[in-house]
Symmetry: C2
Subunit: 468 residues, 2 copies
């Protein structure tokens, strides 16, 4: 179906609204019939010469109001009129359908998902209820800029016992997610400070740091992590690393390399290591490797952690442990910023941790994810003659590298044709020409059920081996 | 009592912890007896040559564990041992006691407080409970970077009807408080952009903008607001203004001045007005003045709003309305940042607004604050022969200016001696030498009961008139 939406640039209402109103009218007046497929947001955007986000927003509105529905792998369809009432009741869930279209496939090995089926809703609800009692009105007043003291104490205790982090609550800063904490850290370090990053790295952190104006030096890795001699050559005064489970390579940095990194940091005054410990909670073989921070005797490691992976992405709570020297800089330059996390949310998390639910939840999720991890490795066994697997036994994704050198784009496309979404690694490289993994894709498994993982592996075998 | 705490710099534990442990031991072993007064945090810090925050933290810990108690205007006292168990149960409220010491007085006319006694805890709890149902797991996944669409729609509808703001949800950005939104805005405007601010102004906004590197031009005000010819001379490319109720002067900008400001913004390409509409909800006489944004036909006004004043400071939710041009800059430069507000909190607020609770709450609070406002004006009547009152009939504070020219510091000190805390205006001036109100103090009333307001006024009369 081609849609010729008359757009009026004189009209005061935004373009997406004009598109939405036009399509709605066409549906209501029967010119677009129920069950017919709407053009994709991309095609419509091309035809109307507007941005894709404009058509996406028009469609979101149609979905929200129940005029259309989105089906994975198929697209947007006009609803039957007699279904409108029913569909409208589920309108609150509509924004999700946008994601459904993007990851429109039978099995989506997204490395970003987490398993929300096991989220302890009942406990969370119970704690929330207890926090919101009438006589707890202090909870609604302004709080401590660094985060509430008791919450920071609980985080400190957890970090000490689970990650070997050595700190007092005074060194901990609570903030609305690790991106915000990086923004804050950038102010403490000074925006002209050159920061080394592993290459490939976590693209979101790279975006934040460059948006803040930092010169970023991409530094090569080997299978032990960032190469320290290259770091030395880079001229950087800080290095952002993920020693526990590097994203995306999955490399776990051995103790010797950690000591070398610390050696680099001690080598010249003012050098810092930024340790992003984003998914260190999940390790399925051997003992967990303690955080780099715990090895540091010179106050050179800044530790970043988050509850996004371990509890839920919607819980916008991260924390940062500052060494003493930076703590003083923080008090001077940034101590005036209010805490970005609501005290109510801090208290819920505080109760969740100190009542033992957090540890239980982590233990449960570790078992759940290990089951999925093992199902994935088992499902991938038939592919091992053509692919090597790396980054397993920790985190929530593994890497597959085609031994015959099939290009990433081809791997992704063939998988897509078979209804499976896998993710290239090239987007994680700071400069695409530095991509040393031309035939590698990522498979995340956190958000999939074990039977989906098995099916996905089967489909990948057909897609990649059948015609390889 | 003088405390000689032996501090060991070789000791791995932080100084505050050594102080806390030492005092705790002294109390436990009876060397400091129950009922005795501990030195103030300031004196102890001086004696031990540590920072005040160190002694404060040691005391907070003692309070939290129930070894000491804080009494307003008097200080810290050692608890009786047999009271320890009971006191410990209230440990969760301990961080509050720190504030109690700072504002240690019988009546505290803080301009920052709000009335939390009327917070609709039951409704809030009920909505929270409904949000946290098991089948609502999407709520815990990653959300829209700008904030959830339905929440932004609800904000847009509210802003349109209550404040005359003209925008689509697409232009709205939700963020964890107005400070965070200013950080973000600073990235969109570019950090070298010179920003004019009313002088005096909201000190926190000044701190954020200068910390981001903006050159700030303080611009003189008259009783209609920022002087536009001075703004023109300042060479600024953006102006941060509070037209609805300027902080701290309480000036409400009349329409003519608003038009002149818009005229300035239209005068050269790339100029913007940043409208901070922080407490516009509260106006006790005449019709509410619509937002400047609603008068703008050229897309030059950036609108900032928050729920901190209208609901609760702990609800870290603010919003920003971007004109079309900046929206495109946002998508290009900052669209990758995740939203800093949890989806659960967004949904609770969404329900709160769309179920009509927000409007009802505002109406109730407007009546409550009007009562307090009127009680304050009545209580201040005996002072009117010596003081002029300004900034009344809107917001949550008024200004008192001594006609005889008594200095601010003296006014504050005399009030303090009578057990009343009032706030000088000098801290709101960008350069202290620009202070054109040498004899003015602020009186906030939101957080006081009417009888406290009356008592405070009586004490102020004694303090200021008796010996004036």
């Amino acid at each position: 179906m081609e849609l010729m939406v008359p757009l009026n640039t004189q009209d005061k209402s935004p373009l997406y609204e004009q598109i939405y109103r036009y399509i709605k009218k066409e549906i209501r007046e029967g010119r677009i019939t129920a069950g017919s497929r709407l053009p994709s947001t991309r095609i419509l955007a091309q035809n109307l010469k507007v941005s894709r986000s404009t058509t996406q927003m028009a469609y979101d509105q149609l979905l929200a109001e129940g005029y259309a529905e989105a089906f994975p792998c198929r697209g947007y369809f006009v609803c039957k009129i007699d279904e409108l009432v029913e569909v409208r009741q589920t309108a609150a869930a509509a924004p999700e359908t946008r994601k459904r279209e993007e990851s429109a496939c039978e099995v989506d090995f997204s490395p970003r998902g987490i398993d929300l089926d096991r989220f302890p809703f009942n406990i969370w609800r119970k704690i929330s209820r207890n926090t919101l009692v009438d006589d707890n009105k202090a909870m609604f007043g302004a709080g401590d800029p660094q985060g509430e003291w008791n919450f920071r104490s609980a985080i400190g205790d957890y970090l000490h016992s689970a990650r070997g982090v050595e700190c007092s609550p005074e060194q901990i800063l609570v903030g609305a997610g690790s991106e915000y904490l990086l923004l804050l850290l950038s102010q403490l370090l000074g925006r002209d400070r050159k920061i080394a990053m592993e290459n490939p790295t976590y693209a979101q952190a790279y975006r934040v740091l460059t948006a803040q104006g930092h010169p970023v030096a991409p530094v090569e890795m080997d299978r032990r992590g960032m190469k320290v001699e290259k770091l030395e050559q880079s001229g950087a005064q800080a290095a952002y690393v993920m020693p526990s489970h590097q994203y995306p390579t999955g490399v776990v940095m051995p103790v010797k390399r950690r000591q070398e990194l610390l050696g680099w940091a001690y080598g010249k005054p003012g050098r810092y290591l930024i340790e992003d410990d984003y998914d260190s909670e999940f390790r399925y073989r051997g003992k967990p490797v303690p955080a780099l921070q715990g090895m540091d005797r010179g106050g050179r490691v800044i530790y970043l952690g988050t509850f996004s992976k371990s509890i839920a992405p919607a819980i916008r709570v991260g924390f940062m442990v500052l060494p003493q020297e930076l703590l003083e800089v923080y008090r001077e330059r940034a101590g005036f910023y209010s805490c970005t996390v609501s005290r109510i949310d801090q208290d819920i998390l505080y109760q969740f941790i100190t009542q033992g639910h957090y540890e239980r939840h982590l233990n449960r999720m570790r078992a759940v994810y290990k089951g999925k991890h093992d199902a994935l490795l088992a499902g991938l066994r038939p592919l091992e003659r053509a692919f090597s697997i790396t980054g397993e036994y920790a985190g929530l994704h593994v890497l597959l590298t085609h031994k015959g050198g099939m290009e990433e784009a081809k791997l992704v496309r063939r998988a897509q044709e078979a209804g499976v979404k896998v993710y290239g690694i090239s987007g994680s490289f700071i400069h695409p020409e530095h991509n040393v993994y031309p035939s590698t894709v990522m498979l995340g498994y956190a958000n999939l059920r074990e039977e989906e993982i098995e099916k996905g592996c089967r489909l990948l075998g057909q897609a990649w081996l059948g015609r390889a």
